[in-house]
């Protein structure tokens, strides 16, 4: 009897299991490709627009290839990251079309819809498939793709559920506790070509290769990113609802960038917080300053690790404090053998901006005529100060009243620089109401950045907001009183000349 039941159960399981698998990720047929191939047109377009990075034979070895990071795609192996097809399959033509049209954020692949027509982009889809030396596109074309459907309404509960899945499915092992790509397994990863690769920083959604809409994030962990260590979670997270929750959580980790030309420092009564994690810092306006590779002076650096640094500032009667923060998945504090140290530099003009007669020092380390002052903090906690009149003329100077306090936690550095308002002898002080030019340099040791191999910003301005002058409060009150007096005078006059008997 029991064996019959066992057998029945077994059969039931065997029957039910494939059904369950089929039900996990719903599939739909791939829509037809709307434009037929015109090989000559495709080749001409490719040679005009793509060859510089992807190379004449599609192997990702064009003239610009060794100066961009991540490296351009090698089409010969038919491995593509952004797909709506199950793991291990080639992408659909629509997938390729989308990548060509929208570009790949966080890489040098631009959105070609800005310059190429739909017809031209479809021709490029057909052309890049001709580079496939494995014949995969011909032998095993994509027939089905996953159904993404409508994203759910994002609620706090959904995000919380997603947080639980992030913990349970160990996403943090690579992407880190706070999602900054600093998990314990993040080190030493390689892609299928043997190039080093790092887990994406989930707090920078503007760099998500496949886009940062909820549907895009959902697609990425449903299908995985071919050629990278990012697997498909279609089997481990069979419920679409779970994947939507995870997508909502991942999306919630990023905030929009807030850029500005001016960093405003509010006046603070009392002591400025010493610790980078003091909650008081959260109450201050922050500004994101975008960074580019230093490609102006030799040695040029085309592949910077960092793309943004965030700053906040405070001041009181005696000193100015500047808090800078940036994400770095690898902590290089001198304990990692040959890796250079992670470093941040803040740059100000050496002279009083008012004395510069509208001129500024050259934004990269100043120039022989107008020097700059550099505050440099390294991952080992060391603080240095330098004066520079261009890259060739740099000299260390005493730290003076400058202090720095930094920490690294969960893939993020936070460093406070504090200095007396007046500054040292021979350098400009900070004065309320004055716009002081300010620029940043960042170096990631693990990425081989040191010296001029760095990311840099343009000049922005630091402004200590002065106390609001008393006239701002008094003058409106006086004007209001004056108006009231005028009114009363009018009322009296009119009532006398035109009595109520009318």
């Amino acid at each position: 009897m029991s064996t019959v039941i066992e057998r029945l159960l077994m059969v039931a399981t065997l029957v039910a299991f494939p059904v369950a698998v089929a039900a996990e990720v719903s599939m739909e047929p791939v829509p037809p490709t709307p434009v037929a191939a015109k090989p000559e047109a495709g080749q001409k377009l490719y040679r005009t627009h793509c060859i510089q990075c992807h190379g004449p034979s599609g192997a990702g070895d064009g003239p610009a290839a060794d100066r961009v990071y991540p490296r351009p795609r090698d089409f010969t192996l038919a491995l593509f990251k952004i797909r709506s097809t199950p793991s291990g399959q080639v992408p659909t033509d629509h997938d390729l079309f989308r990548v060509i049209s929208e570009g790949l954020p966080g890489t040098t692949m631009p959105a070609w819809k800005k310059v190429l027509s739909e017809e031209e982009r479809w021709q490029l889809v057909h052309h890049i498939k001709t580079f496939d030396t494995m014949g995969v596109f011909a032998d095993e074309p994509a027939k089905e793709r996953i159904v993404i459907g409508q994203p759910p309404q994002v609620t706090a509960e959904l995000v919380e559920k997603g947080r639980g899945i992030y913990e349970a499915k160990k996403c943090w092992q690579c992407h880190g506790r706070m999602g900054r790509g600093d998990g314990p397994s993040a080190e030493g990863m390689k892609d299928d070509w043997g190039h080093p690769i790092r887990p994406v920083n989930l707090t920078k959604s503007w760099r998500f290769r496949g886009g940062d809409r909820l549907e895009d994030i959902f697609r990425t962990f449903t299908t995985g990113l071919t050629g990278t260590p990012m697997p498909s979670f279609a089997d481990t997270l069979p419920e679409a609802a779970d994947r939507w929750a995870l997508a909502a959580f991942v999306k919630s980790l990023s905030r929009p960038q807030r850029t500005s030309q001016v960093l405003r420092a509010q006046r603070h009564v009392g002591e400025i917080p010493d610790q980078p994690d003091d909650p008081l810092w959260e109450q201050v306006e922050f500004v994101d300053f975008p960074l580019a590779g230093q490609i102006i002076l030799e040695p040029r650096w085309f592949t910077p690790a960092h793309d943004v640094i965030t700053a906040r500032a405070f001041y009181n009667d005696r000193e100015t404090a500047l808090l800078v923060e940036w994400d770095d998945g690898s902590h290089d504090d001198g304990g990692n053998g040959p890796s250079p140290l992670d470093r941040v530099t803040v740059q100000f003009p050496l002279e009083d901006p008012a004395a510069l007669d509208g001129e500024k020092p050259y934004f990269v380390l100043g120039d022989p005529k107008h020097g700059v002052e550099l505050w440099e903090w390294s991952g080992d906690g060391r603080l240095e100060r330098r004066h520079a009149h261009g890259a060739e003329r740099m000299e260390p100077v005493a730290v003076g009243s400058l202090r720095a306090q930094g920490r690294y936690r969960d893939g993020q550095y936070r460093v406070i620089f504090r200095r007396s308002l007046t500054g040292e002898k021979g350098e400009a002080g900070f004065a309320p109401g004055r716009f002081t030019p300010m620029a940043f340099h960042l170096r990631d040791g693990r990425h081989g950045e040191e010296g001029l191999k760095m990311a840099l910003s343009a000049w922005s301005d630091l402004l200590l907001i002065p106390e609001t002058p008393w006239t701002v409060h008094i003058v409106p009150v006086l004007l209001a009183l004056l108006t009231l007096a005028g009114e009363l005078w009018l009322v009296r006059r009119m009532r006398r000349s035109a009595p109520l008997s009318v």
Partner: protein
């Protein structure tokens, strides 16, 4: 109709103000807005005063308020509201906004008559692109220029030469968009050569050389390489250099 003159005048004034304030994008500066609103106020007043009956109709409501011929709540609202409004507007106008100071900048500065490149003095007036003298080799030179461009320039000036490369958004001024008719197509090749060879630091003071991220390309590229890159940015963006002589521009091809 005359009865409603005051309400109509006030309504018109508010409508114009709201339109100027909300529907002009980017927002007009406060100074411009003030000039417009002053003109609008004068125009409305002139219209109202042009006709005696209309003028009396206009004055009637304020008169009624001041003479006490309206209900007490209305009178109190107007008499208290007006000073509060005046004080509020004064406060708005007096509070500093602390926007970045305006820094004027000459986009296409006057080039010098001569400059030094790799130790050699070059007269700008007589300078032409030497690579255009051999039309048979032009396609080859453009192709070489393309390689130079994508190893050096596209990081800022973009894959499609539209000034939108991966680093472009970091720098102010923004990198030049070669597809824009206001850039290389209105410049002579000699000017472009000067700008490329001497970069940001070669600009005169009025063009804010301290902000320009344009490298001094003579430190990285030979003279001929600069000319090749210039051939490519014209050919690749489908533009032609400005010339003073007729007929020399069409050696360039798309």
């Amino acid at each position: 109709m005359v009865r409603w003159t005051f309400a109509l005048a006030l309504g018109l004034w508010l409508a114009v103000f709201a339109t100027l304030r909300l529907f002009i994008i980017p927002p007009a500066p406060v100074s411009v807005l003030t000039i417009y609103m002053t003109l609008v106020t004068v125009a409305i007043l002139l219209f109202v005063m042009a006709n005696e009956a209309r003028w009396q109709g206009f004055l009637a409501p304020p008169r009624a308020v001041f003479a006490g011929r309206v209900s007490r709540p209305v009178q109190v609202t107007v008499l208290a509201g007006l000073p509060i409004l005046v004080g509020f507007v004064a406060h708005l106008r007096l509070t500093p906004t602390w926007d970045a100071p305006f820094e004027p900048r000459v986009v296409h500065p006057q080039p010098p008559s001569s400059f030094t490149i790799q130790g050699r003095r070059i007269e700008l007036a007589a300078l032409t692109n030497p690579l255009r003298s051999d039309p048979a080799a032009l396609d080859q030179r453009i192709a070489e220029g393309k390689t130079i461009y994508y190893r050096n320039c596209f990081f800022c000036h973009g894959d499609a030469l539209a000034g939108d490369g991966p680093f472009a958004q970091v720098f102010r001024p923004l990198p030049a968009n070669f597809r824009d008719v206001g850039t290389i197509s209105m410049l002579q090749e000699s000017f472009v050569f000067w700008r490329v060879a001497t970069g940001g630091p070669g600009l005169p003071k009025g063009a804010t050389p301290w902000h320009s991220a344009m490298p001094v390309w003579q430190q990285f590229l030979a003279e001929e390489e600069i000319w090749k890159a210039i051939l490519f940015i014209y050919a690749g963006s489908g533009s032609t250099p400005r010339t003073w002589e007729e007929g020399t521009a069409d050696v360039n091809r798309h």
